[in-house]
Amino acid sequence: MTGFLSLFRRLEGPQTLGRGPAFWALFALVLAGALAYPLFSDGYTVGNTVYFFVWVFIALSLSLIWGYGGSLSFGQTAFFGIAGYSYGILTINFGASYGFTWIALLLAVGMAALIAALLGYFMFFGRIAGVFLGIVTLAVTLMLERFMAQTAGPEWRIGAARLNGFNGMSAMPPLTIPWFGGPIVLFADVGLYYVVLAMLVLVYLALRILMNSAFGNVIVAIRENPERAEMLGYDIRKYQLITFVIGAALAGLSGVLYTVWGQYITPSSMGMTAASLPLIWVAVGGRSDLTATIIGTLVVLSGFQALTIYGSQYALVFMGVLLVLTVLIAPNGLVLGVINWITKLVTRRKQEAA
Protein backbone atom coordinates (compact mmCIF):
# COMPACT_ATOMS: atom_id res chain seq x y z
CA MET A 1 0.00 0.00 0.00
CA THR A 2 2.79 2.44 0.88
CA GLY A 3 4.51 1.39 -2.33
CA PHE A 4 1.37 2.29 -4.25
CA LEU A 5 1.10 5.66 -2.50
CA SER A 6 4.74 6.46 -3.17
CA LEU A 7 3.94 6.16 -6.88
CA PHE A 8 1.74 9.23 -6.54
CA ARG A 9 4.52 11.17 -4.88
CA ARG A 10 6.53 10.54 -8.06
CA LEU A 11 4.03 12.62 -10.03
CA GLU A 12 6.23 15.54 -9.05
CA GLY A 13 9.97 15.68 -9.15
CA PRO A 14 13.10 17.17 -10.64
CA GLN A 15 12.48 15.68 -14.10
CA THR A 16 9.07 17.27 -14.71
CA LEU A 17 7.87 20.87 -14.65
CA GLY A 18 4.96 21.74 -12.44
CA ARG A 19 4.45 21.01 -8.77
CA GLY A 20 2.24 21.94 -5.87
CA PRO A 21 -1.48 22.72 -5.59
CA ALA A 22 -1.32 25.58 -8.13
CA PHE A 23 -0.05 23.29 -10.90
CA TRP A 24 -2.53 20.49 -10.19
CA ALA A 25 -5.41 22.98 -9.95
CA LEU A 26 -4.44 24.22 -13.42
CA PHE A 27 -4.16 20.63 -14.61
CA ALA A 28 -7.69 19.89 -13.30
CA LEU A 29 -9.00 23.06 -14.96
CA VAL A 30 -7.49 22.14 -18.34
CA LEU A 31 -8.81 18.60 -18.00
CA ALA A 32 -12.30 19.87 -17.11
CA GLY A 33 -12.16 22.14 -20.13
CA ALA A 34 -11.15 19.23 -22.35
CA LEU A 35 -13.97 17.09 -20.93
CA ALA A 36 -16.57 19.82 -21.46
CA TYR A 37 -15.32 20.82 -24.91
CA PRO A 38 -17.54 18.42 -26.95
CA LEU A 39 -20.61 19.95 -25.32
CA PHE A 40 -19.86 23.28 -26.98
CA SER A 41 -18.78 21.94 -30.33
CA ASP A 42 -19.99 19.72 -33.15
CA GLY A 43 -18.96 16.14 -33.86
CA TYR A 44 -16.91 17.02 -36.92
CA THR A 45 -14.73 19.57 -35.10
CA VAL A 46 -14.33 17.26 -32.12
CA GLY A 47 -13.25 14.49 -34.51
CA ASN A 48 -10.60 16.82 -35.93
CA THR A 49 -9.35 17.57 -32.44
CA VAL A 50 -8.80 13.85 -31.92
CA TYR A 51 -6.40 14.03 -34.88
CA PHE A 52 -4.21 16.44 -32.88
CA PHE A 53 -4.31 14.26 -29.78
CA VAL A 54 -3.28 11.22 -31.82
CA TRP A 55 0.09 12.82 -32.60
CA VAL A 56 0.85 13.70 -28.99
CA PHE A 57 1.80 10.09 -28.20
CA ILE A 58 4.56 9.99 -30.81
CA ALA A 59 5.73 13.39 -29.58
CA LEU A 60 5.91 12.04 -26.02
CA SER A 61 7.86 9.05 -27.29
CA LEU A 62 10.45 11.41 -28.79
CA SER A 63 10.56 13.43 -25.60
CA LEU A 64 11.31 10.23 -23.71
CA ILE A 65 14.02 8.87 -26.03
CA TRP A 66 15.55 12.12 -27.22
CA GLY A 67 14.72 14.76 -24.61
CA TYR A 68 15.23 12.62 -21.52
CA GLY A 69 17.44 9.84 -22.87
CA GLY A 70 19.61 11.92 -25.18
CA SER A 71 19.37 9.58 -28.19
CA LEU A 72 17.95 11.20 -31.32
CA SER A 73 15.72 8.64 -33.02
CA PHE A 74 14.28 9.00 -36.52
CA GLY A 75 12.69 5.60 -36.04
CA GLN A 76 9.50 6.69 -34.29
CA THR A 77 7.57 6.94 -37.55
CA ALA A 78 8.72 3.42 -38.44
CA PHE A 79 7.07 2.10 -35.26
CA PHE A 80 4.08 4.32 -35.99
CA GLY A 81 3.74 2.62 -39.38
CA ILE A 82 4.41 -0.90 -38.14
CA ALA A 83 1.66 -0.62 -35.54
CA GLY A 84 -0.75 1.09 -37.93
CA TYR A 85 -0.32 -1.58 -40.60
CA SER A 86 -0.46 -4.36 -37.98
CA TYR A 87 -3.79 -3.06 -36.74
CA GLY A 88 -5.11 -2.96 -40.28
CA ILE A 89 -3.95 -6.46 -41.15
CA LEU A 90 -5.34 -7.92 -37.92
CA THR A 91 -8.77 -6.28 -38.02
CA ILE A 92 -9.31 -6.74 -41.77
CA ASN A 93 -8.64 -10.45 -41.24
CA PHE A 94 -10.42 -11.04 -37.96
CA GLY A 95 -13.10 -8.36 -37.88
CA ALA A 96 -14.28 -6.21 -35.02
CA SER A 97 -16.62 -8.43 -33.04
CA TYR A 98 -16.09 -9.55 -29.41
CA GLY A 99 -13.96 -6.47 -28.77
CA PHE A 100 -11.22 -7.79 -31.05
CA THR A 101 -10.25 -4.25 -32.15
CA TRP A 102 -8.88 -3.65 -28.64
CA ILE A 103 -6.85 -6.85 -28.75
CA ALA A 104 -5.63 -5.78 -32.18
CA LEU A 105 -4.62 -2.43 -30.70
CA LEU A 106 -2.57 -4.17 -28.01
CA LEU A 107 -1.04 -6.65 -30.47
CA ALA A 108 -0.14 -3.87 -32.91
CA VAL A 109 1.51 -1.81 -30.18
CA GLY A 110 3.24 -5.00 -29.00
CA MET A 111 4.51 -5.61 -32.55
CA ALA A 112 6.10 -2.15 -32.65
CA ALA A 113 7.66 -2.80 -29.24
CA LEU A 114 8.97 -6.21 -30.32
CA ILE A 115 10.66 -4.85 -33.44
CA ALA A 116 12.08 -1.99 -31.37
CA ALA A 117 13.46 -4.54 -28.92
CA LEU A 118 15.24 -6.38 -31.75
CA LEU A 119 16.58 -3.25 -33.43
CA GLY A 120 17.43 -1.67 -30.08
CA TYR A 121 19.29 -4.75 -28.93
CA PHE A 122 21.68 -4.58 -31.87
CA MET A 123 22.08 -0.81 -31.57
CA PHE A 124 22.59 -0.43 -27.85
CA PHE A 125 24.45 -3.66 -27.18
CA GLY A 126 26.55 -2.83 -30.25
CA ARG A 127 27.28 0.53 -28.57
CA ILE A 128 25.84 2.61 -31.40
CA ALA A 129 25.24 6.06 -30.01
CA GLY A 130 24.83 9.73 -30.87
CA VAL A 131 24.53 10.68 -34.52
CA PHE A 132 24.96 7.06 -35.65
CA LEU A 133 21.81 6.09 -33.81
CA GLY A 134 19.98 8.78 -35.77
CA ILE A 135 21.39 7.44 -39.05
CA VAL A 136 20.50 3.82 -38.35
CA THR A 137 16.95 4.64 -37.24
CA LEU A 138 16.44 6.95 -40.24
CA ALA A 139 17.64 4.19 -42.57
CA VAL A 140 15.15 1.75 -41.03
CA THR A 141 12.29 4.25 -41.43
CA LEU A 142 13.07 5.01 -45.07
CA MET A 143 13.63 1.34 -45.97
CA LEU A 144 10.26 0.49 -44.50
CA GLU A 145 8.60 3.29 -46.48
CA ARG A 146 10.26 2.13 -49.74
CA PHE A 147 9.31 -1.45 -49.03
CA MET A 148 5.66 -0.71 -48.33
CA ALA A 149 5.47 1.57 -51.37
CA GLN A 150 6.25 -1.33 -53.74
CA THR A 151 3.57 -3.67 -52.37
CA ALA A 152 0.96 -2.63 -54.96
CA GLY A 153 0.68 -6.01 -56.63
CA PRO A 154 -2.00 -8.54 -55.66
CA GLU A 155 0.74 -10.92 -54.42
CA TRP A 156 1.34 -8.57 -51.47
CA ARG A 157 -1.44 -9.68 -49.19
CA ILE A 158 -1.63 -11.10 -45.69
CA GLY A 159 -4.82 -13.14 -45.48
CA ALA A 160 -7.63 -10.91 -46.64
CA ALA A 161 -5.56 -7.74 -46.25
CA ARG A 162 -4.01 -6.25 -49.40
CA LEU A 163 -1.04 -3.98 -48.60
CA ASN A 164 -1.81 -1.85 -51.69
CA GLY A 165 1.57 -0.17 -52.19
CA PHE A 166 1.62 3.60 -52.25
CA ASN A 167 -2.14 3.90 -51.88
CA GLY A 168 -1.93 2.18 -48.53
CA MET A 169 -4.53 0.20 -46.65
CA SER A 170 -7.97 1.48 -45.88
CA ALA A 171 -11.41 0.48 -44.61
CA MET A 172 -10.20 -1.31 -41.51
CA PRO A 173 -12.86 -1.25 -38.76
CA PRO A 174 -12.61 1.51 -36.14
CA LEU A 175 -12.26 0.69 -32.44
CA THR A 176 -15.46 -1.01 -31.34
CA ILE A 177 -16.82 -1.57 -27.84
CA PRO A 178 -19.04 -4.66 -27.57
CA TRP A 179 -22.27 -3.61 -25.81
CA PHE A 180 -25.61 -5.20 -24.88
CA GLY A 181 -27.77 -3.12 -27.21
CA GLY A 182 -25.32 -3.64 -30.07
CA PRO A 183 -21.62 -2.68 -30.39
CA ILE A 184 -20.56 0.94 -30.02
CA VAL A 185 -18.38 1.89 -33.00
CA LEU A 186 -15.93 4.71 -32.26
CA PHE A 187 -15.80 6.79 -35.44
CA ALA A 188 -13.80 10.03 -35.45
CA ASP A 189 -16.36 11.69 -33.23
CA VAL A 190 -17.14 12.42 -29.59
CA GLY A 191 -16.79 8.79 -28.44
CA LEU A 192 -13.28 8.40 -29.82
CA TYR A 193 -12.42 11.82 -28.40
CA TYR A 194 -13.08 10.68 -24.84
CA VAL A 195 -11.24 7.39 -25.29
CA VAL A 196 -8.13 9.10 -26.70
CA LEU A 197 -8.29 11.85 -24.07
CA ALA A 198 -8.37 9.21 -21.32
CA MET A 199 -5.36 7.45 -22.87
CA LEU A 200 -3.53 10.76 -23.13
CA VAL A 201 -4.07 11.66 -19.46
CA LEU A 202 -3.07 8.15 -18.38
CA VAL A 203 0.11 8.10 -20.49
CA TYR A 204 1.07 11.62 -19.37
CA LEU A 205 0.71 10.79 -15.67
CA ALA A 206 2.41 7.42 -16.04
CA LEU A 207 5.36 9.02 -17.82
CA ARG A 208 5.64 11.65 -15.08
CA ILE A 209 5.86 8.86 -12.50
CA LEU A 210 8.35 6.92 -14.59
CA MET A 211 10.64 9.87 -15.19
CA ASN A 212 10.69 10.92 -11.54
CA SER A 213 11.48 7.39 -10.40
CA ALA A 214 14.92 5.85 -9.92
CA PHE A 215 14.63 4.59 -13.50
CA GLY A 216 14.12 8.13 -14.80
CA ASN A 217 17.13 9.31 -12.81
CA VAL A 218 19.33 6.81 -14.62
CA ILE A 219 17.87 7.82 -18.01
CA VAL A 220 18.76 11.49 -17.55
CA ALA A 221 22.13 10.48 -16.08
CA ILE A 222 22.89 8.60 -19.31
CA ARG A 223 21.94 11.70 -21.31
CA GLU A 224 24.26 13.85 -19.21
CA ASN A 225 27.25 11.48 -19.11
CA PRO A 226 26.95 7.82 -20.16
CA GLU A 227 30.46 6.89 -19.00
CA ARG A 228 29.82 8.23 -15.50
CA ALA A 229 26.45 6.47 -15.35
CA GLU A 230 28.08 3.16 -16.23
CA MET A 231 30.81 3.80 -13.65
CA LEU A 232 28.11 4.06 -10.99
CA GLY A 233 27.31 0.43 -11.72
CA TYR A 234 24.40 0.84 -14.16
CA ASP A 235 24.20 -1.36 -17.23
CA ILE A 236 23.29 1.59 -19.42
CA ARG A 237 22.57 -0.59 -22.48
CA LYS A 238 19.61 -2.15 -20.66
CA TYR A 239 18.21 1.22 -19.60
CA GLN A 240 18.58 2.59 -23.13
CA LEU A 241 16.90 -0.47 -24.61
CA ILE A 242 13.94 -0.33 -22.21
CA THR A 243 13.45 3.39 -22.91
CA PHE A 244 13.63 2.73 -26.64
CA VAL A 245 11.00 -0.02 -26.39
CA ILE A 246 8.63 2.14 -24.31
CA GLY A 247 9.10 4.94 -26.84
CA ALA A 248 8.36 2.59 -29.72
CA ALA A 249 5.19 1.39 -27.99
CA LEU A 250 4.02 5.01 -27.62
CA ALA A 251 4.80 5.76 -31.25
CA GLY A 252 2.93 2.56 -32.12
CA LEU A 253 -0.07 3.73 -30.11
CA SER A 254 -0.03 6.92 -32.18
CA GLY A 255 0.05 4.78 -35.33
CA VAL A 256 -2.91 2.63 -34.31
CA LEU A 257 -4.98 5.65 -33.24
CA TYR A 258 -4.14 7.42 -36.51
CA THR A 259 -5.27 4.33 -38.42
CA VAL A 260 -8.57 4.00 -36.54
CA TRP A 261 -9.16 7.74 -36.75
CA GLY A 262 -9.03 7.96 -40.54
CA GLN A 263 -9.44 4.26 -41.31
CA TYR A 264 -6.39 4.32 -43.57
CA ILE A 265 -2.61 4.14 -43.42
CA THR A 266 -0.12 4.74 -46.23
CA PRO A 267 3.65 4.35 -46.61
CA SER A 268 4.06 8.14 -46.65
CA SER A 269 3.27 8.15 -42.93
CA MET A 270 6.77 6.61 -42.63
CA GLY A 271 8.48 8.96 -45.09
CA MET A 272 11.09 11.64 -44.58
CA THR A 273 8.54 14.41 -43.98
CA ALA A 274 6.57 12.32 -41.53
CA ALA A 275 9.78 11.44 -39.70
CA SER A 276 10.95 15.02 -39.33
CA LEU A 277 7.73 16.78 -38.36
CA PRO A 278 7.49 15.23 -34.86
CA LEU A 279 11.10 16.26 -34.27
CA ILE A 280 10.09 19.85 -34.98
CA TRP A 281 7.07 19.83 -32.63
CA VAL A 282 9.16 18.35 -29.85
CA ALA A 283 12.16 20.60 -30.41
CA VAL A 284 9.97 23.71 -30.53
CA GLY A 285 8.03 22.72 -27.43
CA GLY A 286 10.95 21.66 -25.28
CA ARG A 287 11.98 18.04 -25.60
CA SER A 288 13.31 17.62 -22.07
CA ASP A 289 9.90 18.10 -20.45
CA LEU A 290 6.68 16.17 -20.96
CA THR A 291 4.32 19.10 -20.39
CA ALA A 292 6.27 21.44 -22.68
CA THR A 293 6.29 18.70 -25.32
CA ILE A 294 2.50 18.32 -25.24
CA ILE A 295 1.84 22.08 -25.36
CA GLY A 296 4.41 22.57 -28.13
CA THR A 297 2.99 19.72 -30.20
CA LEU A 298 -0.60 20.93 -29.97
CA VAL A 299 0.31 24.55 -30.71
CA VAL A 300 2.65 23.84 -33.63
CA LEU A 301 0.36 21.19 -35.07
CA SER A 302 -2.70 23.46 -35.07
CA GLY A 303 -0.61 26.28 -36.53
CA PHE A 304 0.62 23.92 -39.24
CA GLN A 305 -2.95 22.82 -39.94
CA ALA A 306 -4.11 26.44 -40.27
CA LEU A 307 -1.25 27.22 -42.66
CA THR A 308 -1.91 24.14 -44.78
CA ILE A 309 -5.14 25.81 -45.92
CA TYR A 310 -2.99 28.27 -47.85
CA GLY A 311 -0.74 25.57 -49.30
CA SER A 312 1.08 22.65 -47.71
CA GLN A 313 4.44 23.54 -49.31
CA TYR A 314 4.49 26.89 -47.56
CA ALA A 315 3.50 25.26 -44.29
CA LEU A 316 6.48 22.90 -44.57
CA VAL A 317 8.86 25.76 -45.32
CA PHE A 318 7.47 27.57 -42.30
CA MET A 319 8.11 24.47 -40.16
CA GLY A 320 11.74 24.47 -41.32
CA VAL A 321 12.12 28.15 -40.46
CA LEU A 322 10.55 27.51 -37.07
CA LEU A 323 13.07 24.75 -36.36
CA VAL A 324 16.03 26.93 -37.34
CA LEU A 325 14.73 29.80 -35.18
CA THR A 326 14.23 27.46 -32.22
CA VAL A 327 17.75 26.08 -32.51
CA LEU A 328 19.17 29.62 -32.69
CA ILE A 329 17.02 31.41 -30.09
CA ALA A 330 15.85 28.75 -27.62
CA PRO A 331 17.76 25.50 -28.16
CA ASN A 332 15.87 23.90 -25.26
CA GLY A 333 12.51 24.73 -26.81
CA LEU A 334 10.31 27.80 -27.04
CA VAL A 335 7.54 26.62 -24.69
CA LEU A 336 10.05 25.41 -22.11
CA GLY A 337 11.95 28.70 -22.47
CA VAL A 338 8.80 30.73 -21.81
CA ILE A 339 7.81 28.55 -18.82
CA ASN A 340 11.28 28.86 -17.30
CA TRP A 341 11.24 32.62 -17.86
CA ILE A 342 7.88 32.99 -16.09
CA THR A 343 9.06 30.80 -13.20
CA LYS A 344 12.15 32.97 -12.81
CA LEU A 345 10.01 36.12 -12.85
CA VAL A 346 7.66 34.76 -10.19
CA THR A 347 10.47 33.68 -7.86
CA ARG A 348 12.11 37.08 -8.23
CA ARG A 349 8.81 38.79 -7.33
CA LYS A 350 8.48 36.54 -4.30
CA GLN A 351 12.04 37.31 -3.20
CA GLU A 352 11.44 41.04 -3.60
CA ALA A 353 8.22 40.79 -1.59
CA ALA A 354 9.94 38.88 1.20
Binding site: S6, P14, N225, G233
Partner: protein, 238 residues
Protein backbone atom coordinates in the same frame (compact mmCIF):
# COMPACT_ATOMS: atom_id res chain seq x y z
CA UNK B 1 45.65 -9.72 1.69
CA UNK B 2 45.79 -8.61 -1.92
CA UNK B 3 42.63 -6.74 -2.96
CA UNK B 4 43.64 -6.08 -6.53
CA UNK B 5 46.19 -8.02 -8.49
CA UNK B 6 47.47 -7.45 -12.01
CA UNK B 7 49.46 -10.28 -13.53
CA UNK B 8 51.57 -9.71 -16.66
CA UNK B 9 49.05 -7.25 -18.06
CA UNK B 10 49.80 -6.12 -21.60
CA UNK B 11 47.92 -3.67 -23.80
CA UNK B 12 48.74 -2.91 -27.41
CA UNK B 13 47.06 -0.31 -29.56
CA UNK B 14 48.18 -1.51 -32.98
CA UNK B 15 51.98 -1.44 -32.79
CA UNK B 16 51.96 0.77 -29.71
CA UNK B 17 52.80 -1.12 -26.53
CA UNK B 18 51.11 1.05 -23.90
CA UNK B 19 51.12 -1.36 -20.99
CA UNK B 20 54.03 -3.78 -20.86
CA UNK B 21 53.90 -6.82 -18.57
CA UNK B 22 52.65 -4.88 -15.56
CA UNK B 23 52.52 -6.74 -12.27
CA UNK B 24 50.90 -4.82 -9.46
CA UNK B 25 49.53 -5.93 -6.11
CA UNK B 26 47.31 -3.67 -4.04
CA UNK B 27 46.98 -4.63 -0.39
CA UNK B 28 43.65 -4.33 1.41
CA UNK B 29 43.50 -1.03 3.30
CA UNK B 30 46.41 0.83 1.76
CA UNK B 31 46.65 4.16 -0.03
CA UNK B 32 48.74 3.54 -3.09
CA UNK B 33 49.86 6.27 -5.47
CA UNK B 34 50.70 5.77 -9.11
CA UNK B 35 53.13 8.32 -10.52
CA UNK B 36 55.15 8.66 -13.68
CA UNK B 37 55.89 11.08 -16.51
CA UNK B 38 53.26 11.96 -19.09
CA UNK B 39 52.58 9.05 -21.42
CA UNK B 40 53.79 6.47 -18.89
CA UNK B 41 50.51 4.58 -19.26
CA UNK B 42 48.88 5.49 -15.94
CA UNK B 43 45.44 6.33 -17.29
CA UNK B 44 45.49 3.30 -19.59
CA UNK B 45 46.22 1.13 -16.59
CA UNK B 46 43.16 2.64 -14.87
CA UNK B 47 41.02 1.93 -17.91
CA UNK B 48 42.22 -1.67 -17.88
CA UNK B 49 41.35 -2.04 -14.22
CA UNK B 50 37.90 -0.50 -14.86
CA UNK B 51 37.17 -2.58 -17.93
CA UNK B 52 36.93 0.35 -20.35
CA UNK B 53 39.84 -1.33 -22.16
CA UNK B 54 40.49 -5.03 -22.13
CA UNK B 55 44.08 -6.25 -21.86
CA UNK B 56 45.75 -7.86 -24.88
CA UNK B 57 47.08 -10.45 -22.45
CA UNK B 58 47.39 -10.97 -18.71
CA UNK B 59 44.96 -11.24 -15.84
CA UNK B 60 43.28 -8.85 -13.43
CA UNK B 61 41.74 -10.16 -10.24
CA UNK B 62 39.78 -8.35 -7.55
CA UNK B 63 39.16 -9.78 -4.08
CA UNK B 64 40.30 -13.20 -5.31
CA UNK B 65 38.01 -13.22 -8.37
CA UNK B 66 39.22 -13.05 -11.96
CA UNK B 67 37.52 -9.93 -13.40
CA UNK B 68 39.49 -9.70 -16.66
CA UNK B 69 36.46 -10.43 -18.84
CA UNK B 70 33.85 -8.48 -16.85
CA UNK B 71 32.12 -5.36 -18.18
CA UNK B 72 32.68 -2.06 -16.38
CA UNK B 73 29.33 -1.90 -14.58
CA UNK B 74 29.82 -5.45 -13.28
CA UNK B 75 33.23 -4.51 -11.84
CA UNK B 76 31.68 -1.45 -10.18
CA UNK B 77 29.03 -3.67 -8.60
CA UNK B 78 31.77 -5.87 -7.16
CA UNK B 79 33.21 -2.94 -5.22
CA UNK B 80 35.31 -0.78 -7.55
CA UNK B 81 34.66 2.92 -7.96
CA UNK B 82 36.35 5.74 -9.84
CA UNK B 83 36.76 9.48 -10.05
CA UNK B 84 37.82 10.47 -13.55
CA UNK B 85 40.57 12.88 -14.48
CA UNK B 86 38.16 15.35 -16.10
CA UNK B 87 35.29 15.68 -13.58
CA UNK B 88 32.48 13.47 -14.82
CA UNK B 89 29.49 14.96 -13.06
CA UNK B 90 25.97 15.20 -14.50
CA UNK B 91 26.18 18.88 -15.42
CA UNK B 92 22.52 19.52 -16.18
CA UNK B 93 21.29 18.02 -12.89
CA UNK B 94 21.40 19.47 -9.39
CA UNK B 95 24.19 18.56 -6.99
CA UNK B 96 21.66 16.75 -4.84
CA UNK B 97 20.36 14.71 -7.76
CA UNK B 98 23.90 13.78 -8.77
CA UNK B 99 24.38 12.19 -5.35
CA UNK B 100 20.92 10.62 -5.42
CA UNK B 101 21.72 8.81 -8.69
CA UNK B 102 24.91 7.46 -7.14
CA UNK B 103 23.13 6.32 -3.97
CA UNK B 104 19.73 5.09 -5.18
CA UNK B 105 20.82 1.56 -6.02
CA UNK B 106 21.49 0.80 -2.35
CA UNK B 107 19.23 3.24 -0.47
CA UNK B 108 15.75 4.69 -0.80
CA UNK B 109 13.24 6.94 0.97
CA UNK B 110 14.30 8.65 4.20
CA UNK B 111 17.58 6.72 4.45
CA UNK B 112 18.52 7.99 0.99
CA UNK B 113 17.78 11.62 1.90
CA UNK B 114 19.76 11.28 5.13
CA UNK B 115 22.80 9.82 3.38
CA UNK B 116 22.71 12.60 0.75
CA UNK B 117 22.74 15.18 3.56
CA UNK B 118 25.66 13.41 5.25
CA UNK B 119 27.66 13.34 2.00
CA UNK B 120 26.87 17.00 1.26
CA UNK B 121 28.31 17.92 4.65
CA UNK B 122 31.37 15.70 4.12
CA UNK B 123 32.04 17.37 0.75
CA UNK B 124 31.37 20.93 1.98
CA UNK B 125 28.64 21.28 -0.64
CA UNK B 126 25.62 21.93 1.65
CA UNK B 127 25.02 25.40 0.26
CA UNK B 128 25.29 24.27 -3.36
CA UNK B 129 22.91 21.30 -3.22
CA UNK B 130 20.20 22.90 -5.38
CA UNK B 131 22.63 24.25 -7.96
CA UNK B 132 23.27 22.65 -11.33
CA UNK B 133 26.46 20.63 -11.09
CA UNK B 134 27.70 22.35 -14.25
CA UNK B 135 27.77 25.69 -12.38
CA UNK B 136 30.14 24.50 -9.64
CA UNK B 137 33.77 25.60 -9.49
CA UNK B 138 36.32 23.14 -10.79
CA UNK B 139 37.39 22.06 -7.32
CA UNK B 140 33.78 21.59 -6.20
CA UNK B 141 33.10 19.42 -9.26
CA UNK B 142 36.08 17.28 -8.29
CA UNK B 143 34.68 16.89 -4.78
CA UNK B 144 31.19 16.13 -6.04
CA UNK B 145 32.56 13.38 -8.23
CA UNK B 146 34.59 11.99 -5.35
CA UNK B 147 31.32 12.05 -3.39
CA UNK B 148 29.54 10.10 -6.12
CA UNK B 149 32.40 7.61 -6.25
CA UNK B 150 32.39 6.97 -2.49
CA UNK B 151 28.58 6.90 -2.35
CA UNK B 152 28.84 3.37 -3.74
CA UNK B 153 30.75 2.33 -0.59
CA UNK B 154 33.49 0.79 -2.73
CA UNK B 155 36.19 -1.51 -1.41
CA UNK B 156 38.64 0.06 -3.82
CA UNK B 157 38.51 3.71 -4.84
CA UNK B 158 40.39 4.74 -7.99
CA UNK B 159 41.27 8.44 -8.21
CA UNK B 160 42.64 9.82 -11.47
CA UNK B 161 44.39 13.09 -10.59
CA UNK B 162 41.96 14.06 -7.83
CA UNK B 163 43.64 17.41 -7.23
CA UNK B 164 44.20 18.58 -10.81
CA UNK B 165 43.41 22.28 -11.05
CA UNK B 166 42.99 22.71 -7.29
CA UNK B 167 44.60 25.39 -5.13
CA UNK B 168 47.18 24.17 -2.55
CA UNK B 169 44.56 24.62 0.15
CA UNK B 170 41.94 22.59 -1.75
CA UNK B 171 44.59 19.95 -2.48
CA UNK B 172 45.32 19.63 1.21
CA UNK B 173 41.60 19.33 2.04
CA UNK B 174 41.25 16.62 -0.60
CA UNK B 175 44.19 14.78 0.95
CA UNK B 176 42.48 14.89 4.34
CA UNK B 177 39.27 13.58 2.76
CA UNK B 178 41.16 10.64 1.28
CA UNK B 179 42.83 9.88 4.60
CA UNK B 180 39.51 9.90 6.42
CA UNK B 181 38.03 7.51 3.86
CA UNK B 182 41.03 5.24 4.22
CA UNK B 183 40.75 5.30 8.01
CA UNK B 184 37.18 4.07 7.54
CA UNK B 185 38.51 1.06 5.65
CA UNK B 186 38.62 2.09 2.00
CA UNK B 187 41.56 1.03 -0.15
CA UNK B 188 42.70 3.81 -2.48
CA UNK B 189 44.70 3.82 -5.72
CA UNK B 190 45.45 7.35 -6.95
CA UNK B 191 47.18 8.73 -10.03
CA UNK B 192 48.71 12.03 -8.97
CA UNK B 193 51.31 14.53 -10.16
CA UNK B 194 51.20 16.74 -7.09
CA UNK B 195 54.04 15.44 -4.91
CA UNK B 196 52.79 17.31 -1.84
CA UNK B 197 49.56 15.32 -2.11
CA UNK B 198 51.45 12.05 -2.64
CA UNK B 199 53.57 12.79 0.43
CA UNK B 200 50.43 13.62 2.43
CA UNK B 201 48.53 10.40 1.67
CA UNK B 202 50.61 7.65 0.06
CA UNK B 203 51.68 4.62 2.03
CA UNK B 204 53.23 3.06 -1.04
CA UNK B 205 54.16 4.50 -4.42
CA UNK B 206 54.54 2.81 -7.79
CA UNK B 207 56.39 4.58 -10.59
CA UNK B 208 55.25 3.77 -14.09
CA UNK B 209 57.52 4.51 -17.05
CA UNK B 210 57.00 3.56 -20.72
CA UNK B 211 54.22 1.20 -19.71
CA UNK B 212 56.31 -0.71 -17.20
CA UNK B 213 56.62 -0.72 -13.43
CA UNK B 214 59.83 1.21 -12.97
CA UNK B 215 60.12 1.41 -9.20
CA UNK B 216 58.06 0.74 -6.10
CA UNK B 217 58.40 1.65 -2.45
CA UNK B 218 57.64 4.23 0.22
CA UNK B 219 57.55 7.88 -0.79
CA UNK B 220 60.95 8.46 0.82
CA UNK B 221 62.53 5.57 -1.06
CA UNK B 222 61.06 6.82 -4.33
CA UNK B 223 62.24 10.39 -3.80
CA UNK B 224 65.69 9.15 -2.90
CA UNK B 225 65.88 6.98 -6.04
CA UNK B 226 68.10 8.74 -8.55
CA UNK B 227 66.78 6.70 -11.46
CA UNK B 228 63.27 8.05 -10.78
CA UNK B 229 64.50 11.62 -10.73
CA UNK B 230 66.26 10.88 -13.99
CA UNK B 231 63.17 9.69 -15.90
CA UNK B 232 61.31 12.80 -14.86
CA UNK B 233 64.16 14.78 -16.39
CA UNK B 234 64.10 12.60 -19.49
CA UNK B 235 67.42 10.87 -18.92
CA UNK B 236 66.26 7.33 -18.26
CA UNK B 237 68.42 5.80 -20.95
CA UNK B 238 71.43 8.02 -20.49
Amino acid sequence: MALLQLRDVNKHFGGLHVTNAVNLVLEQGEIHCLIGPNGAGKSTLFRLILGEHHPSSGQISFAGEDITALKSFARIRRGLSVKFQVPGVFKGLSVRQNLEIALQSRLSGAALAKEIDRLLAFLNLDAEQAQMAGNLSHGQKQWLEIGMAIALKPRLLLLDEPTAGMSPEETHMTGEMVRRLNAAGMTVLAIEHDMAFVRQVAQRVTVLHLGQVFAQGSIDEIVADERVAAIYLGQAHA
